[in-house]
């Protein structure tokens, strides 16, 4: 059965789209038939990060309105054979995304894909709500700072109360914490929250930590998901995330500046 995974955060600029691009690429690289949907109608970015912006002809709103078939709107990824992108509309407003239409699209996608990754817009308005409503699992992307953690907490509350699974009393949405832009050096000086601090507040299982890196910006500008970068901490961290998501037991990397740091984190208060 196909799984719907929402990548969400509440706060903007924390790395949702970067994560959606790399996570969906990672799933596809492991042979899973994967589609990634941009729900940020009006501010579409996913196609830029995936490097397919020049191939966007139709978008999700065209499909919802029945103007084109899903097949016509899906764009095949340039790096992975098993990956397709359903772009958002640049010109419509968010109200064009309705739950019935989205459900119809998801049901159709479920027939031919293993994973459907939904890249949520920031905020808690209708766009974010629509992106998360049908989710089976959620990747909650958080930066190591208090406002981002607070917004993630809010999103987790909404997932637990207003998602389809919550409303219909099904098994709750499975939550995963993904900490991005993590800089152990600044955590050590107290300028950033530690992974332990974040987990203490959010209390959901940690799926991975993506280190802060200049290469993410370069990858975005080049239209290549960060997971494809050579010799990059970020790429390896995202591959670990995908591995853990698929059930592998991998040690957390990139969370310490030097040996003994984690011990100090757990010990000190």
């Amino acid at each position: 059965m196909a799984k719907v995974i929402v990548v969400t955060s509440g706060k903007g600029g924390v790395g949702k789209t970067t994560t959606s691009a790399s996570f969906s690429s990672g799933l596809a690289m492991r042979g899973n038939r994967t589609v990634v949907i941009d729900f940020d109608v009006g501010l579409r970015n996913l196609d830029l990060i995936m490097g397919c912006e020049r191939r966007v002809v139709y978008d999700i709103i065209n499909v919802i309105n029945g103007e084109v078939s899903l097949k016509q709107a899906l764009i095949k990824d340039k790096n992975c054979d098993n990956l397709y992108i359903l772009p958002a509309s640049q010109t419509r407003d968010k109200d064009a995304l309705n739950l019935e239409g989205v459900e119809r699209i998801l049901d159709e996608l479920k027939e031919s894909f293993d994973f459907i990754v939904c890249d949520s817009p920031a905020g808690i308005e209708s766009g974010a709500f629509t992106a998360m409503y049908f989710a089976d699992e959620a990747l909650v992307v958080t930066n190591p700072e208090v406002s981002s953690v607070r917004d993630s907490d809010r999103i987790l509350g909404i997932l637990a109360a207003k998602s389809k699974r919550a409303v219909e009393g099904l098994e709750p949405v499975k939550e995963h914490l993904l900490v991005t832009r993590y800089d152990p050096k600044r955590v050590n000086t107290g300028a950033m929250l530690s992974v332990v601090d974040i987990q203490e507040i959010l209390r959901i299982p940690l799926l991975g930590v993506i280190p802060e890196s200049a290469s993410v910006l370069q990858a975005s500008n080049a239209g290549t998901p960060a997971i494809h970068l050579d010799k990059s901490d970020v790429a390896e961290a995202y591959r670990d995330v995908v591995g853990r998501f698929m059930g592998e037991d991998l040690p957390m990397r990139f969370i310490s500046e030097k040996a003994g740091f984690f011990k100090r984190l757990l010990g000190g208060h």
């Binding site: 607070r150 907490d153 987790l156 509350g157 637990a160 209390r203």
Partner: protein, 267 residues
């Protein structure tokens, strides 16, 4: 063709005059009422009045409601029913054809606890319980203050149990109940209960116990890290942090007059 309904049943919140009865001696009551009514003869004409009996609920004697109602009618007053009173008094009232109102509880206006730093520095002016007076300053005419609370706390309350995290932006209201939370309560979350609140995890949000005015309500917390604590409308915020002796420790909160007392739970 569909017929229009000929009636509808709806609930409504109306303010009514309450006559607080403080004696079961009918002749005393009638005499003093006559004196009082002579001052404003037309004031009560066609006004429904609820007889408030909490002042005589503890007394053994009954009250001759038939006699009292007749007396009131002769002065243009219309007895609508009773509120409070003992079981026997309630039965007497039913016999006399009076309605029984459920115990009325007035929600307390929020006020700062007197031990809160702001009330000490005078940065905040304490708000007295206010209720719009129906008739200004007449002798023997009291504006409804916050009372009748003891009758609410006397009844055992059911308990609402929450076993999932209460997160930013979420509000849980245990109406007419105690609230037990078995998971974390994060900053920006709100717990409200008419009874007690128990949190067996860190409590980082707001906890509002005795929301309907129950001053005997308490708050029990496994790790005290709140944004706000309130009992029966008396609240306290923690701008300068939670007191060292209870911060992030097990603690209990109760109301002492208008002072919120936070005590460590030592065991």
């Amino acid at each position: 063709m569909r017929e229009e309904p000929v009636f509808k049943i709806k609930t409504g919140s109306l303010s009514v005059l309450q006559l607080h009865i403080l004696t079961t001696n009918l002749s005393d009551l009638k005499r003093e009422l006559s004196v009082r009514l002579a001052q404003t003869p037309d004031f009560f004409v066609s006004t429904p009045i609820v007889l408030e009996l909490s002042g005589i609920a503890e007394l053994e004697q009954g009250l001759d409601f038939v006699n009292l109602v007749a007396f009131m009618q002769s002065h243009g007053m219309c007895a609508a029913g009773i509120v409070g009173g003992s079981v026997g008094q309630r039965e007497d009232a039913i016999q006399a054809g009076l309605g029984i109102f459920p115990d009325v509880v007035v929600r307390n206006p929020m006020r700062r606890a007197t031990d809160d730093p702001f009330s000490v520095t005078g940065a905040y002016v304490a708000v007295a319980p206010v209720a719009a007076p129906l008739q200004p300053e007449l002798p023997g005419f009291e504006t409804p203050a916050v009372s009748q609370v003891s009758s609410v706390s006397a009844k055992p309350m059911p308990t609402m149990v929450i076993d999932k995290p209460v997160r930013t932006g979420q509000r849980i209201y245990a109406e007419g109940a105690n609230l037990v939370v078995l998971a974390i309560v994060n900053a920006g979350a709100e717990l409200i209960a008419d009874g007690d609140i128990h949190v067996y995890a860190p409590m980082r949000g707001k906890a509002i116990a005795g929301a309907q005015g129950n001053e005997a309500a308490r708050i029990f917390v496994n790790s005290m890290e709140p944004e706000l604590l309130s009992i029966a409308g008396c609240f306290k915020v923690f701008e300068d942090g939670v007191p060292e002796n209870v911060s992030a420790k097990p603690a209990c909160v109760h109301l002492d007059g208008s002072r919120l007392v936070i005590q460590p739970l030592n065991y």
